[in-house]
């Protein structure tokens, strides 16, 4: 294996992991406020198609990302109305959002199938991109890759170093206590849900505008669900999301690895494609095995509706 091959494997791993980081961090903030939004798959799908359509019509990938973000927020607003205002079951509301979003994206995206966008030039970080092997893999990437790193720092700072983050965590641990000292639980949860939606929308946009770059029905392919599992894997800690995301990113590119390594093993493509899903299950088992880890780290009110004035 040559050095350039290792470099390109690293590059592809980072690219595959990036949408997972962004979506999982959004969901992490949502869950820290005590809300379980299982709709990430649907939000990503709609975000991806909205971003693709916008980028295709305007020729601007940046506008595409913004459109994906906006679409993601609109989708999560639907979830908010159902789960927060109308106090419906959060699991069912999230499932509804996933089913609706996957269907809606297929419907909207039909005319855009078999169109490809021009690939976007990467942004080179001066000096750093010249580091052998690591430079091309980490510092010659799309803007959203750098954004994902900044996002990890920002979310970690927000949750553990800022007052607003403290309030958000309080809402997630004990909404009744937070309410009784005057915090608007429903308002804060709406903000967290909208943030999660925005990030899932951006994650979807990354897939359709930079990663493929085209729109195919079902192209999100479970990444929204993997991002949800990633939050559990990271035991609700932002920095660990990155490790998990690159781990799964690595699983997603095994095909490339096997082909490039020149090994003469004949594995059906479907087996390699199944790897990220099997890995997700294994990781969930390993982390959840210890009940107290989950109980200590997960927000205490996760998934439970909050009724104001009760």
């Amino acid at each position: 294996m040559g050095l350039s091959f290792i470099s390109s494997i690293l590059f592809a791993t980072v690219v595959a992991g990036t949408p997972l980081i962004i979506v999982a961090l959004g969901e992490l903030v949502t869950e820290k406020s005590g809300v379980l939004n299982l709709g990430a798959e649907g939000i990503m799908s709609v975000g991806a198609v909205a971003a693709f359509a916008t980028a295709h019509h305007t020729g601007s990938p940046t506008l595409g990302i913004l459109a994906g973000m906006g679409a993601g927020m609109l989708m999560s607003l639907l979830f908010g109305i159902s789960a927060l205002t109308l106090m419906a079951n959060q699991v069912a509301s999230g499932l509804a959002l996933s089913i609706f979003g996957v269907g809606l994206s297929a419907f909207i995206g039909k005319p855009y199938e078999s169109i490809a966008l021009a690939s976007v030039d990467p942004i080179r970080i001066p000096l750093l991109h010249k580091i052998p092997v690591l430079g091309p893999a980490f510092f010659e990437q799309q803007g959203l890759v750098y954004f994902s790193w900044l996002l990890i720092a920002a979310v970690a700072w927000f949750l553990y170093r800022s007052r607003a983050g403290l309030v958000l965590r309080a809402v997630g641990e004990s909404p009744v206590a937070a309410h009784s000292i005057g915090y608007g639980v429903v308002r804060i949860r709406y903000q967290a849900v909208l943030f999660g939606g925005a990030m899932a929308g951006i994650g979807g946009a990354f897939l359709s505008v930079f990663y493929t770059p085209m729109w195919v029905e079902g192209m999100v392919a479970g990444r929204g669900w993997i991002a949800l599992s990633l939050v559990v894997f990271a035991t609700w800690r932002p920095t660990r999301v990155m490790i998990g995301a690159y781990l799964f990113g690595g699983c997603m590119i095994t095909q490339m690895f096997v082909q490039g390594s020149g090994a003469r093993i004949n594995i059906p493509a479907q087996f390699l494609s199944a790897l990220p899903y099997v890995a997700t299950i294994l990781v969930l088992v390993l982390i959840s095995r210890n009940r107290s880890t989950i109980r200590i780290n997960s927000p205490a009110s996760l998934g439970q509706p909050f009724l104001p004035d009760a």
Binding site: L86, A92, L97, G103, F107, W225, A274, Y277, I281, I294
Partner: protein, 355 residues
């Protein structure tokens, strides 16, 4: 003035049953608006989508044909949902059921044994149960969230089908199409009504509704599961095993989804292809919720859901819209239902906004 939801002292029985009707009404209404946005005449759109599929007796028969797998999956899922066991992987269990039963059909090709077809159905149920047993085991033994694991297994099952029809099970005389040989007549479900495609799977589905009703309403185990779902701590205090609820809920869903899967490949499809199910396993969750997790409700909601599938095909043919419009309707229906359900436990009141 400000709309406020006030808790009811008792959940409203009437609203429990009115809510799905309200949701369907809202879905029709937004359907009209959707057609308007798409630049189609709402009246024409409504006619094509909701009335065209049923304009002759063949259409009605097709409705029952499409409702059959939905009914089977939904009644199985409803057992788990009652106990808060979230099996969302019925789609995968359906596919593995189709593979398990289909394997018998291909392996004993040309056999005239009267046991072949019943054996295929049993194998289908066992295949679905096996696939559902994985998340059940991981949940009860390792505490792994069954929502995420059951869903992940859907993708694995899809890839398994893809591998088999592209590889080992591909019909050698099939011009390289990714599909198996056609099942022989002995391995195909008998047609119930001549001139239609409705087969005996409909009888299985109706039977499953009856068994589901008896289990949930007349058996002690069903009662335990309902208690576990409605009041987890009460159930635990009474000594009802939470693990058993998970196992029963999961296996019931898996078995029924597996029967649905083998009934599709040994029924209207007649072979294993990459397109066994247009998302029946996911739509069945909506069917179960709209049917209030009750067999009678599921009967009607599966017919409605089948109509949405057929409406999508009609819309593609006559309105030049993608058939995925039916999934938009399905998603809207579930959202409206969840929203309407607020009236079961709350009553709306206009109050003056506090300063």
């Amino acid at each position: 003035m400000w709309l406020k939801f006030e808790p009811r002292p008792e959940p409203s029985k009437a609203m429990t049953y009115l809510s799905p009707i309200l949701a369907v009404g809202l879905m029709f209404l937004s359907g009209l608006i959707l057609f308007l946005i798409l630049g189609k005449s709402p009246v024409e759109g409504f006619k094509v989508f909701f009335l065209n599929p049923l304009k002759d007796s063949y259409g009605v028969a097709e409705l029952f044909l499409k409702a059959t797998p939905l009914m089977l999956c939904a009644v199985g899922l409803s057992v788990g949902f009652k106990a808060n066991v979230w099996n969302i992987g019925a789609e995968g269990q359906l596919l593995i059921g189709a593979l398990a039963g289909g394997w018998l059909a291909l392996h004993f090709e040309g056999s005239h044994s009267p046991f072949l077809l019943p054996g295929m159905i049993v194998a289908g149920a066992l295949g679905g149960m096996l696939w559902a047993a994985i998340p059940a085991f991981l949940r009860t033994r390792f505490n792994a969230n069954e929502i995420l694991t059951s869903l992940m297994l859907v993708y694995v099952a899809e890839l398994m089908v893809s591998w088999l029809v592209h590889g080992p099970w591909k019909d050698p005389d099939g011009f390289n199409f990714p599909q198996t040989k056609l099942f022989s007549a002995q391995a195909t479900l008998p047609i119930l009504l001549a001139g239609t495609r409705v087969n005996v799977a409909l009888v299985f589905a109706l039977g499953a509704l009856v068994v589901g009703w008896v289990f949930m309403n007349r058996s002690f185990m069903g009662y335990q599961m309902k208690v576990a779902g409605q009041a987890e701590f009460a159930g635990r205090y009474a000594g009802f095993s939470a693990k058993r609820s998970v196992w029963i809920g999961m296996l019931a869903g898996g078995a029924m989804a597996g029967v649905a899967g083998i009934s599709e490949v040994a029924g209207p499809i007649g072979q294993i292809t990459e397109h066994i199910s247009p998302g029946y396993g996911f739509a069945a969750m909506i069917v179960a919720f709209v049917g209030r997790l009750s067999p009678i409700g599921i009967f009607f909601s599966s017919l409605l859901m089948a109509l949405l599938y057929m409406g999508g095909e009609q819309a593609q043919q006559y309105l030049n819209l993608p058939s995925s419009i039916s999934k938009v309707f399905q998603g809207m229906l579930l959202f409206f239902l969840l929203g309407s359900d607020v009236f079961i436990n709350f009553r709306p009141r206009l109050v003056r906004r506090r300063k």
